[in-house]
Structure formats: structure tokens, C-alpha cells
Symmetry: C2
């Protein structure tokens, strides 16, 4: 019983598919129950089957131990096929026109023969469970294409944090042949930093005319941006957009030269007039060309790999803790004590940790 809890650790010890004696019978059972094996998933992903890709991402995002085991193995097998996409982060305040921009740029990329995955980090409502970003319907023009995969992932939940498994999702999308990955995020908070740590290129969308009011966020977010795009640059907005373009260009001059060797660019776009998209794509292409030549691209990926390792550690630690049999029972008891005021949350946490470390010890001695 206790042994089970460390099973997930074996996943990386080279044990792939256990050779069962009655393997065929098990397989038949699985098929009847519609349960996919790891190799079903990996084959499906390799073949670009988006339905299987979607199911794999659901496993990756699951907190259940049995799902995590399969997910770990899927990720491990997908890793050698990953890494070749352009990973592009797209952020901006709500109302800046992210969906419309992604739709326009996405449509252009589809026509150029690219395969596009859009991963939207969705700060879902804590109370209603409702989604802020909404569903695929907001990108009707591209969502019907087989070359597009749109996936909103919830960021909510006290144990989850921001975009708990976006890195892993990028890996499986790349293995499925998507050569451009958009990671979309809402707002001007912590999530940008996280997204920045998993993409190659970071794009900030701004509304013309909102410039002055957004002074407050300029430095932190602007420092991360490889391009600032002023949206809705049409009609009466054109003058405002051009002023904003100048303002941002001047502001960016005040920053030290980019480590990447490519200083950030500012551009205007209008979804209404369908302008600016090609310019913006050229900015992105130029960036990748230069940074692939000067090795910044690979250096940044290496830095990100380190961050990924640390975030995986943190996520495994909590998963292992909560999946521990001796903890599962105690958690409920301590929650009751904390709610009744019998125990303060801080010392309850200490006691549970102590309990956990002791039982890790006991398991090894069985």
C-alpha cells in the first residue's frame, strides 16, 4: 500500500510499458473501456490528432496520481520531439484586442502553411468557476482549421498558481507538429513573468490613448517585451496610435540595450483595416533570425529549462505530499481543527509536514 506512493518516481527510471503476461487481454479491456495507453497517446500526438492531444493535456493538468503517472510518461516520450517551435507570449490589458489580434495573425500564419497552437492562460473566476477568456467561439475565423489548436487552461485553484502546466502543454503541442505556439495571458500582473519564463518572444498589446494611464506598469512589463503593438489603429484612433507609437519608442530608448541583441520594436495594427500584421510578423521573424545566430535563443531556452526544473520540483513536492496515504486522512482532521479554531493554520501546517516526513521515512523501512 505504502509502496504505491513512490510509484510515480519510477516513471523516469526507464520503465516504459510493463510487459504483462496477459497483455492482449488487458489491451482488449482497455479498448472496451476506451482507456488509452501511453503509446496510444504518444502515437496520436505524433500523428497530430488534436482530440488525443486535448485528452493528453487534460491528463497533464489533472491532480490525480494515476493521471500524473501517465502524463509524466507522455511528456518524457514527447520531449525528444519538442523544442522546434517559435514560442510567443502575447499579453495586454483586457480590451486591448488580444483575441482579434491573435485571430488576424493566426489567419496570416495559416495561409503561410504554419500549424498554430494557442494556449490561453485563463484566470477563471474563483467563485463561479466561470471563464474570463471565454471559449473558442471568439476566434471563429481560425478555430475551424485543422492546423489550429486552441486550448484555454485555468490558472485558478489555491494549489495551482499561474498556469501550472503550460510548459508541459507546450512540449506535447510541439510533438504534435505545431510549429508556432502562442501563450496568451490576460492582465498586467504576475502571470506575465511566468509566461515570459516559457516563451522565446514576448509581445505586449497596448490600446492607443491608454498610454498615460498605464505609466505605472511600463517599466516591469515593458522590460520583458520584445515588441509593443498598438491595437485598433484606425479611424479617429490613428493620430492617438501614432503618438503612442512615438511615446513608447522614446521610452524604450531609455532602457539599456537588450541582452538578446535585438532592441524591442513598436508597431501599430488595425484588425478593422487589416493593417500591420505582416510588419509584426516580420519583426518576430527578424528577432528569431538574429537570436538564433547570436546564440541568445538557445541561452534563453537553457535558462528557462532551469526554471522549469525548479517549478516541476515544487509541483511534484506538493503532489507527492497530498497523494500520501497517511496525509490524505490527516488533512481532513487538521482542516476541521483549523476551522474550529482548535489549531492555528500555521502550526497545523507544521504538524502535517512533520507527519509527512516521518511517514516518508517509515515507508522506506517497510
Amino acid at each position: 500500500m505504502a509502496e504505491e506512493n513512490n510509484d510515480f518516481l519510477k516513471v523516469n527510471k526507464g520503465i516504459k510499458q510493463p510487459e504483462l503476461i496477459n497483455r492482449q487481454a488487458v489491451e482488449r479491456l482497455r479498448k472496451n473501456k476506451n482507456i488509452l495507453t501511453v503509446s496510444d497517446y504518444v502515437t496520436g500526438i505524433k500523428n497530430g490528432n488534436t482530440s488525443i492531444l486535448g485528452k493528453a493535456i487534460t491528463l497533464i493538468e489533472s491532480h490525480l496520481e494515476e493521471h500524473q503517472q501517465i502524463a509524466s510518461e507522455i511528456i518524457n516520450q514527447c520531449l525528444p520531439m519538442s523544442g522546434n517551435s517559435m514560442r510567443i507570449g502575447i499579453t495586454g490589458v483586457p480590451g486591448a484586442g488580444k483575441s482579434t489580434f491573435i485571430e488576424s495573425l493566426g489567419y496570416y500564419l495559416l495561409q503561410k502553411g504554419h500549424k498554430l497552437a494557442v494556449l490561453a492562460i485563463d484566470p477563471s473566476s474563483e467563485i463561479s468557476g466561470g471563464s474570463i477568456l471565454g471559449d473558442k467561439t471568439r476566434m471563429e475565423k481560425i478555430s475551424a482549421s485543422n492546423s489550429v489548436f486552441i486550448r484555454p487552461s485555468p490558472s485558478g485553484g489555491s494549489l495551482g498558481g499561474v498556469a501550472r502546466k503550460t510548459r508541459e502543454t507546450i512540449i506535447v503541442c510541439e510533438a504534435a507538429g505545431f510549429d508556432i505556439i502562442f501563450v496568451e495571458t490576460v492582465g498586467v500582473g504576475q502571470s506575465e513573468t511566468t509566461v515570459h519564463s516559457m516563451v522565446d518572444f514576448f509581445l505586449l498589446l497596448m490600446l492607443a490613448g491608454a498610454g498615460d494611464e498605464l505609466q505605472g506598469i511600463k517599466r516591469g512589463i515593458m522590460e520583458m517585451a520584445n515588441a509593443i503593438i498598438i491595437t485598433k489603429a484606425d479611424g479617429e484612433n490613428i493620430t492617438k496610435a501614432n503618438i503612442a507609437k512615438n511615446d513608447y519608442t522614446n521610452a524604450l530608448h531609455l532602457f539599456p540595450n537588450s541582452e538578446s541583441g535585438v532592441n524591442p520594436k513598436v508597431a501599430c495594427t488595425s484588425a478593422l483595416k487589416n493593417t500591420g500584421i505582416i510588419d509584426i510578423w516580420n519583426i518576430i521573424i527578424d528577432y528569431f533570425t538574429v537570436t538564433r545566430q547570436n546564440n541568445y535563443h538557445i541561452e534563453q531556452r537553457q535558462k528557462q529549462a532551469k526554471q522549469w526544473m525548479h517549478q516541476t520540483i515544487s509541483s511534484f513536492l506538493t503532489d507527492n505530499f497530498y497523494n500520501h496515504n497517511s496525509i490524505k486522512e490527516k488533512i481532513v482532521q487538521y482542516e476541521t481543527k483549523v476551522v474550529s479554531g482548535e489549531e492555528n493554520p500555521f502550526s497545523a501546517a507544521h504538524k502535517l509536514i512533520n507527519e509527512y516526513l516521518n511517514s516518508v521515512h517509515d515507508i522506506k523501512n517497510i
Copy 2:
């Protein structure tokens, strides 16, 4: 040596101040070196010494094991003196006028004899380390008062997450006699959910005229809000502000009745004209009166206590991992392997976790 790693767990086993034989000599040494004991901290906090309070918060936010041990004990001793403040979350997009609003409301509260702590969760720049919220100078009118304690806390850092230790900071501020705590946060992202999980009342500041553009965030954030304040309601803005007030009031009617028993209110304010502050304070006071009577206040605090327990567990797990002697060395080795591509970050994380769980076992056997 190995024993040291579990020392922090002893903190909660009733061991307070070890009775050293040459205690006086140690005390003298400490004083010469300007090192405060736990009881120095607790006494200082109890006496409302803001300099010691500030130092205690620095310890609370520290990642160092020796600091965490002292911090845990300080928090434990402060907990019985905590819980009696009004915990108020204040959020809004950059430019909505949070600082000005806090200054106006804060000034009013000081005159009423309250003691106010302002804890600003600061999404500091990842690259420059620079701060977005700036420093105390932005609240000149109140920052000079002895009854005000302003503390920006960085949210950055890959291991940190959003406002890692704000709950603990609230506890020590309450023990120091602050009866009103503002938790201020920037932006419209994940941080609101976290802040909402640690305050009694959640206040959303909105700019008049930005209403339509902010449709996208309405549901998630608005559901959390106990009051929506439209700022800068003066001069030419008055009409816009009143329209916005109507719009938000109507929008709020579409939501189900609040669990708290008090439906969210909408109000306008102008820092320029110094209007609206008393109305807003009355909204807050009414909310606390009703929710204290109908027990919602205590129920919410109990729910939050549970969340706090879980977040403390998560933070202790990572701290314990990284402070582990056998891990400290290995981390660097694995980072090198990950950067060189010899090991993928995902399996490196697995191996380190395995290493950690094995050494937890070994330590117990020594």
C-alpha cells in the same frame, strides 16, 4: 549535520527559548552584535515598534533557514494577538488611482484614531529588480504618521509566487496594534484571487470611461468585489463617472445575491474634490456590521484559515527541500546538466525529488 535539517520542525513542539547555561553571556553577545531574540521581536511588535515590525517582516520574507526558524516562532507568538483588524483588499488597473485613494481614505481613518497598515504586493520587475509600485513617497500625506505602516513586498521570484508571505505579515501587523490593514495589489490577474483569500472586504477601483474596455474582466473580478469605486469623478469626468456607476450597478444586479448577505455597492470618489471618502467608509462599516452579525465574517475567516494551512504546507515543502544539505550540492550539478542538455528539466526534477525522499529517510536512521 544531517539532524539540522529538521530543526525548523521543532519550533512547533513547544520549545520556545532554550534555557542556556550561559544565557546572560549569549544575550550580551547578541546585543553587541545587534541580533534580536525572538522575544525582542515579539516585545517590540507588541509595543508597536514599527522598526522592529519591519525587521520581523524581512525575516518572514527571507528564504534562509535560520531566518525561517525565528520567523515561525515570532508568528506563533503573535497569532494569539492577531485577528482583530479589518482586512481590506484594494485593487484596480494601473492608473486607477490606488495610491491617491489609499492616501485619502487613510488620512480620514487616522483622524478617526485608527492605526493603518498598508501592505502593497509589488510585482517587481524580473529583470531590473525595480519596483512598480514605487516607495512610500507616493503617500506623503500619511506616511509620516506613527499610526501608519507602509510596506511594499515583492511578489517576484520563481519560487515565490504571488505575495508569498502576506498572510504572515498581516498577523504581525495586527499584533502590533494595527486595526485596519489594506492589502493593495496592482492589475487584473491572478493576484486578486490570492488577495481575496486573505481579506474580509475586497474593493475594486475603476476609472470612469474605461468601463467598456474592461468588459472582459468584469465577471471574475467583479464577483469578488464587495464595492466598486469609480475614481477621478470630478470636472469633465463627472458625467462619465455617473454613467459608469449606473452601468456597474446594473451589471451587479445580474449576479446572484452575495453569500455575505450584503450585495456589492458602487460609489464615486474624487481625490481632487475630496468627495466620496466618507460614503465609502460607511459602505465598509455597514458590511462589517452585517457580516459580523450573520456570522459570514467568521465563516470566511475559517475558510481562509484552511487556505492558509495549505499554502504554508506548500511553502514549507519547498523550503525544506532546498535547505536540505544533500540537495544543495546536487541542485547545482543538475542545473548544469539541464543547461548542457545532458538531462531534460522534467526528469532532472524527478531524480532530485527521489534523492530528497531517500535522504529524508536516511536522516531519520542516523
